[in-house]
Symmetry: C2
Subunit: 445 residues, 2 copies
């Protein structure tokens, strides 16, 4: 019997655990799952005989190492900063490791040590990063294999709300960590390359530099730039590509409205506000509007919006931004924390709501003096609030990779990514059984 150790049973682990347990009888696996919340683990195991719920502290080396020693494979669903310690243990104990997270520079430096230990440390094998790498590399390799040259690559991903649950004027709900949504894009300019020219977009313009995209049957989306597009050149072997861009998808008008929060200064997380006793959404907004002895907050906000953006006004009204309801934040909240509380009160998932993961790649390539454009898109809708699309798209590629490692189908060693055909081909194939599939369209330019 093979022994799989899963560290962490949070939101993104649900579909991973279900897949491993469902396949555990056929492949003779025991799935040992640890989380500080034992009850959570037991709910996710749901009485399956091959599941073992553990509740030791996965962050303590002393408690963790005996379990890693017993395991044939470790899957770390812990927050990314803890992977490095787990990786050190796995190298010492010669146990394979999978993480869905970005490879940190420290982890990258363990490549030789992992190879010497004869193990694989597979990373970035969730959805973004993960499915984005795999689906893009499949097309890039196909273009290159027929002699084509990729000249432009634009890629967009968004965790959104499913159309059937999309019932608010922002066309958005939090399907993931709200804090990350509020802080999105902060901490430096977005950089990408367009026809050989490096372009930088500062945070104050990030949500106004938008690409419009559509997916047949799913309507329109807008993409705003991600901070880092350039590092994908090396990962995808496209070092000299003249155009590369990565973006995040929202529904139309979301970004334009979000930009108003940024302009006002309400997304800042770098300072705490003073005198916030009895703070209300209205007072919070007013702190970012000019003083006027008689004008109402509504009038001042409309003046700030300007006539050309007045179509956004109802979004802010719907959020309750003008209300005198007390906010419950910490004693010295940052603006971002106050904004998050307002948004969470309005944009959280309701019972029965489903999430939606959308990914769009656009490739332009030349072949025999002709130019072509391939658009590849994936839309996946969650099952419920346990097996969300986010959980499925993160957990299933991770789980399939686990199966491949345990079955000996993956021979590579070292610290690696799913950018090689022997990894991505079987995973993308099997993901189609779970309705995670890309629709491809090619035109001549």
């Amino acid at each position: 019997m093979k022994n799989i150790l899963v560290l962490g049973a949070g939101l993104s682990a649900s579909s991973l655990i279900r897949y491993l347990l469902t396949n555990s009888e056929q492949y003779n696996w025991q799935v040992r799952i640890v989380d500080q919340d034992l009850d959570l683990v037991q709910r996710k195991i749901n009485g399956h005989p091959n599941g073992v719920a553990l509740s030791f502290n996965a962050l303590s080396p002393d408690e963790r190492k005996p379990e890693i020693e017993k395991a044939d494979l470790v899957i770390s669903m812990l927050p990314a900063r803890f992977h490095i310690e787990v990786a050190h243990d796995c190298i010492e104990l010669k146990t394979n490791l999978i993480t869905p997270s970005y490879i940190s520079p420290e982890l990258k430096r363990l490549d030789h040590a992992a190879k010497d230990a004869g193990i694989v440390i597979m990373n970035e094998i969730g959805v973004d990063p993960g499915i984005d790498h795999m689906s893009a590399m499949k097309i890039i390799h196909a273009i290159q294999n027929k002699g084509g040259k990729v000249e432009s690559f634009k890629s967009y991903c968004g965790g959104l709300i499913a159309p059937e649950s999309d019932d608010n004027p922002w066309n958005y709900k939090f399907t993931w960590n709200p804090r990350n949504v509020v802080l999105a894009g902060q901490g430096g300019a977005a950089c990408f390359i367009r026809n050989g020219q490096y372009k930088y977009i500062p945070y104050n313009r990030l949500f106004s530099r938008l690409d419009k995209l559509s997916i047949s049957g799913y309507g329109d989306f807008m993409g705003y730039p991600n901070r880092d597009s350039l590092s994908y050149r090396a990962i995808y072997g496209l070092e000299n590509i003249p155009t590369i861009f990565r973006g995040t998808l929202r529904r139309p008008d979301y970004c334009e409205a979000w930009n108003v929060f940024i302009e006002l200064g309400m997304t800042d997380d770098t300072y705490t506000m003073v005198d916030t006793e009895g703070m209300t959404p209205r007072k919070f907004l007013n702190a970012y509007l000019p003083y006027h002895p008689t004008k109402t907050v509504e009038v001042k906000f409309k003046e700030f919006l300007r006539e050309d953006r007045m179509y956004l006004y109802s979004k802010f009204e719907w959020l309750g931004l003008f209300e005198e309801r007390p906010l419950l934040q910490a004693e010295t909240p940052t603006p971002a924390q106050l904004l998050q509380e307002i948004l969470v009160g309005k944009l959280s998932l309701s019972k029965g709501d489903k999430d939606m993961l959308v990914m769009i790649h656009e490739f332009e390539y030349s072949l025999n003096n002709e130019r072509f454009k391939i658009t590849s898109s994936m839309v996946n809708i969650g099952e419920d609030q346990m097996y969300t699309s986010m959980s499925n798209t993160v957990g299933l590629p991770t789980a399939i990779c686990a199966k491949m490692i345990l079955n000996g189908a993956l021979k590579t060693t070292g610290v690696t990514l799913p950018v090689y055909p022997e990894v991505y081909t079987p995973i993308l194939d099997e993901l189609e059984d779970f309705n995670i599939r890309f629709e491809e369209e090619e035109i001549r330019l």
Copy 2:
């Protein structure tokens, strides 16, 4: 003979040294001045028999302490972060100390130790901070002494170029550290209080939230908000004042144009740009403008400016922003470093140029059910590029305070500020002899 030790002989020390030497015969002082640049010290002493040039390392306790031991008074013109170490030495050796810089929290904590040692550590006694405190407290105390209540205090200061040297479309030249000018306002929102309401201005709107001010004979100025206005409430004993605002002065249209750099993202110092080999002002600007296959940088920049700000265009043209001249910055410059190089090439002082220090206070107060407004303003023009207005306004109050301490006219001990009449009255009086004087105007509201 009394012994004064001056640490640092940089730009802001010139007028201080001249005053001390000029008064040294009357008061029987020896002025010992240390700087790593011995030649600089000798030029500033200019052969005066009571000046002694020293060139030890003032940052080394072993080299510094024997000199402090010999001194009756230390004046630290070192960068502010070094004052704390000097203060520890002065307490140990029971030597009085003056610094023109803001009191750091660490320095503040030495108050008891300084009192126990029987010494005074006088701080914030340059121009801003310094003359601002003294001139404001004089009026605040006068209002309070006649039973009035200060209800609004707005204060502005700017280091500018003298009218006779003002010959460029920005009406600005660097009269101080250019890096501080490029980074001005970064790192958190400006906060002030207006009619009891706290107001926050994020960096992206800082240079568009402007107050218009005028000084008879000197024309118009615009004030943009300083980061911190609130801490002045405690310093000035105005804890419950409904309106307090501190701002920085520039000539009209400077701020509006500077705001364009901020919007573009060109003042950012938090990341380094890639591929900057052969960087030119034109390429630098283009990196912040959208890609277009045929439009020129000029056309794209005009589109970014918008019709309503087209009057600013010539300022950017004059800076050479569209030129293909190579920039000489470090290998991986930040945007702020590139912008600084462009600006320094155009906005530096020319031979014979004079600087100008401008300070404006506006007080509103109530007395016997009537309301009044006092406007107090000071304009000071530098003598030349050694005895600049910046040097005079920083160095002279420091020097006069030194005289008061040595003559026994200042009896206070501890870590303190010039906010008490026994300090500010004689200093403000003597500053008038140097043409540093405030014009006051009062109206009934």
